[in-house]
């Protein structure tokens, strides 16, 4: 297991109800995820690779959109994107200009915990890959 996988795995265990945690580039490419369906396909319940890659691409677009007038008006870059539905939600946090992390959570996940752990994950990743 690489450092990156290890960091993601630790974050995943800290967030109850987390289906998958991932790191991706602002160019729209998924870099790494945990868990990985290829590791234990029989027990994996998170989004499949194609679906997650689609999510990452959409989130990249949203980061791009929010980097415009919304960030200008706010006076700082939009750092967090949260999308919630009845069955769970998506949480993405900007790590730096090139990277962001993503947590896909089920309905049972507590948003404040997701936010707190994502912030810690982003900090850990920014230090590890500075």
């Amino acid at each position: 297991m690489t450092d990156l996988e290890d960091i993601l795995a630790r974050a995943w265990t800290r967030v109850e109800g987390c289906r998958v945690v991932a790191i991706a580039g602002m160019d729209g490419l998924l870099i790494e995820r945990h868990p990985n369906p290829s590791d234990e396909p029989a027990v994996y319940t998170g989004p499949q690779t194609e679906a997650l890659e689609h999510l990452v691409a959409d989130l990249t677009t949203l980061f791009g959109v929010t980097a415009g007038a919304m960030s200008t008006e706010l006076g700082a870059p939009i750092a967090e994107l949260i999308a919630l539905g009845d069955n769970g939600g998506y949480y993405a946090r900007r790590i730096d200009a090139e990277l962001f992390c993503l947590l896909v959570a089920g309905a049972g996940a507590e948003l404040e915990n997701v936010r707190r752990e994502a912030e810690a994950l982003a900090r850990e990743l920014s230090v590890a890959f500075a």
């Binding site: 580039g25 160019d27 490419l29 870099i31 790494e32 690779t49 890659e53 200009a97 090139e98």
Partner: protein
């Protein structure tokens, strides 16, 4: 650096490249496409990869030269450049840029088979080439290769 030291460095670099998840073959080549060393889980794949080196590097350089950027150069002399071409016969060639000047990657995507990624190494003399299992591995490979090549600078 002595020749022995260079061989050890090459072997270590190849080992690190092969350790990246999704990498099926790795090679170190000169900027002109001369094969220096390589390693693969499938020797046939390595041979096929090596056979594309010269033309892929030439295509990447030509595409970079077409971009309307103030400075385009050889893969190792790193101004930012990026280009996308539609499928041409069997393959699609794309030169993908890194934000960091001095870093540039070239990617060749085949319709039937995993992509091949070319990443210039520090020093300007060599290029790391990896063949990936599938397009799902591109993001991870690009990220890890950037770390490896930066670490070697």
């Amino acid at each position: 650096m002595s020749d022995d030291a260079a061989v050890v460095d090459d072997a270590a670099m190849l080992k690190e490249l092969m350790a990246v998840r999704g990498v099926r073959a790795a090679a170190l080549v000169g900027v002109d496409g001369d094969f220096l060393s390589g390693e693969a889980s499938d020797e046939g794949l390595l041979e096929r990869m090596v056979s594309t080196l010269t033309s892929a590097l030439a295509a990447g350089e030509a595409l970079a030269g077409l971009m309307a950027r103030p400075a385009t150069a050889r893969p190792t002399h790193g101004a930012d450049a990026s280009a996308d071409e539609g499928p041409a016969d069997e393959e699609e060639t794309a030169a993908a840029s890194e934000h960091d000047a001095g870093q540039r990657q070239l990617m060749v995507m085949y319709q039937d088979g995993g992509p091949i990624l070319f990443t210039p190494l520090p020093g300007g003399e060599r290029v790391a080439v990896v063949a990936l299992s599938s397009s799902h591995d591109i993001g991870r490979a690009r990220f890890e290769l950037r770390g490896l090549t930066n670490a070697g600078s």
